[in-house]
């Protein structure tokens, strides 16, 4: 899909911590290999058991809106024709304990409610700097 905030909007700067999240074409959540707890954003150490053994869990991509803030005032010039847009914090059904920030498609910003079910979709964009194809997780409203 096309980017919610426009093709020219900022991209994530890829690094070893976020490459899987933004390029795998799956919803990826960091999981501890020892205690199996999830955490996001990725961290160098498990925040539950302090293990360094961490891996990427591939989620089925179903989630729930835990909070929503509708942006009416664009704080960057290139977002002036994108407002209002909704920022959501989404909990992931099969990776409890984390929240993932995103936008929602398929529903007007002011109609999005806490508790709404959403499923992951991906913005696809070529990242000229890294030469990689990005798959940026976003959320589709589930009817």
């Amino acid at each position: 899909m096309k980017r919610v905030l426009g093709d020219n909007w900022v991209l994530p700067a890829l690094d070893d911590d976020n490459r899987a999240f933004f390029t795998s074409g799956k919803l990826v959540v960091q999981q501890c290999s020892q205690c199996e707890k999830f955490q996001h954003a990725p961290e160098d150490i498990c925040q539950s058991c302090q293990s360094f053994e961490l891996h990427n869990f591939e989620s089925q991509g179903q989630g729930k809106v835990e909070s929503v803030a509708v942006v009416d005032h664009a704080i960057h010039p290139s977002l002036k024709d994108k407002v209002p847009y909704a920022i959501v914090a989404v909990s992931v059904d099969d990776a409890p304990g984390v929240l993932i920030v995103g936008n929602v498609i398929g529903k007007a910003p002011d109609d999005i409610r806490i508790g709404d079910n959403v499923s992951v979709v991906f913005e696809e964009v070529d990242d000229e700097r890294s030469g990689e194809r990005l798959t940026i997780p976003q959320w589709q409203a589930v009817q």
Partner: protein, 389 residues
């Protein structure tokens, strides 16, 4: 450590709308500091320590040279962050004075955004990185989550949802600050009272925040001087004793998690502050709460223990925060919203005035005055000042 510490001098510049200061930021800092020294009855070169927070532009060696200080004995700052650390900076100075490492420590904050660009804005000092955002911002910036207002709005929206809180509760916070500013000639919103109708008619910034829920950006500086209680008693103004200060953070507070979404990060601050001082919210005669955003204050009021979340809307309603006779005298100088946004340091000075009895919205017989730092960012911090040791 035997003796308490006390604030013996306060000072500030004229406050300006953003970009209107005729002085450089460093000049503003020096003006506030020399005013505080004068208020304390000491010469500027008797200052022997500097502490600040969220400020890497007005450093201790530059200040020492400017003020003729021959023996700077203590310099420190909190971790980088924002107004969450305002009372944390006071705590550092208090600890150093009580340990005997310095005698007259200045804590201050200065800001001139015309000179240096805007604080707390994407595209400002943090930058947009030429179309890329890195580190933690990589997980938020591409989704248009850029500003402190947007971050705090996500937390406030969930708090309002969980506890059935209406927009009127946010309005009550804003209206109290504007009302209390009307008697304060320093306040930028003096002469500009706010009505409920004006509040609701103002544009949305990010729902649930209207324009009036968000603190303005201002230029100016404010400073306090901290010394031992013994020395403070010999100075020209009544000491404001530091009863206790606290910082606080919780295990999962560095990231957004479902369990800690609707927080302002002040539950651990409350536990640490009330535990350290042996006091309770009901012992506070007057309170100053750092308002970056009204909704974040509502959460902080609740987390500090003034009312449970489900009762917080009723607690702030009906003018309960307005005026010196209020049920809870609150932001008596107008706060960040209506006096000036000097990253909350002007709140410390207002608490000192309440202890001295010199506020323009003076509460009677103040024994304890609470100042609470910026909500929604961690570690949070808070400080209690006392009229007696």
């Amino acid at each position: 450590m035997n003796d308490k510490a006390a604030i013996c001098g306060i000072g500030e510049t004229v406050y300006y709308n953003r970009g209107d200061s005729p002085h450089t930021e460093f000049q503003l800092a020096c003006m506030a500091i020399t005013a505080a020294a004068d208020d304390a009855g000491i010469a500027p070169d008797e200052i022997d320590g500097f502490v600040t927070y969220s400020d890497n532009r007005n450093g201790p060696t530059r200040l020492s040279a400017a003020l003729g200080i021959q023996n700077l004995r203590f310099a420190a700052t909190t971790w980088p962050g924002g107004g969450n650390s305002v009372a944390g900076a006071m705590q550092i100075a208090e600890s150093a004075v009580r340990a005997g490492y310095a005698n007259n420590i200045v804590v201050f904050r200065a800001i001139a955004q015309g000179q240096f660009g805007r604080f707390g804005q994407a595209g400002g000092s943090s930058g947009m990185g030429g179309g890329y955002m890195a580190g933690g911002a990589a997980f938020s910036g591409p989704y248009g989550l850029l500003s402190p207002a947007q971050r705090c709005a996500l937390r406030t929206a969930r708090f309002m949802h969980d506890h059935d809180i209406s927009q009127e509760a946010l309005c009550d916070i804003a209206m109290a600050c504007y009302a209390n500013a009307q008697s304060n000639p320093r306040a930028l919103k003096s002469g500009k009272p706010l009505t409920r109708e004006q509040y609701h008619a103002s544009r949305w910034i990010v729902k649930p925040y209207h324009l009036y829920d968000c603190c303005p950006e201002n230029d100016g500086a404010a400073a306090s001087i901290i010394t031992t209680a013994e020395r403070a008693r010999d100075r020209k103004n009544k000491p404001a004793y530091i009863t206790g200060a606290a910082q606080g953070d919780g295990a999962s507070y560095s990231t957004l998690t479902p369990d800690d979404l609707a927080t302002s990060f002040y539950t651990p601050v409350a536990e640490n502050l009330w535990g350290y001082t042996g006091l309770e919210p009901k012992d506070m005669d007057v309170v100053q709460f750092y308002e970056n955003f009204t909704g974040a204050v509502l959460i902080a009021l609740s987390e500090m223990g003034f009312a449970p979340p489900e009762g917080i809307e009723e607690f702030v309603s009906g003018g309960a925060l307005v005026g010196p006779e209020a049920k809870l005298p609150f932001n008596t100088s107008g706060g960040n919203l209506a006096e000036a946004y000097i990253h909350g340091f002007q709140l410390i000075n207002e608490s000192v005035r309440q202890i001295r009895g010199t506020s323009t919205c003076q509460v009677r017989n103040v024994e304890h005055a609470l100042t609470v730092g910026g909500p929604g960012y961690a570690p949070g911090s808070a400080i209690v000042l006392g009229a007696s040791q």
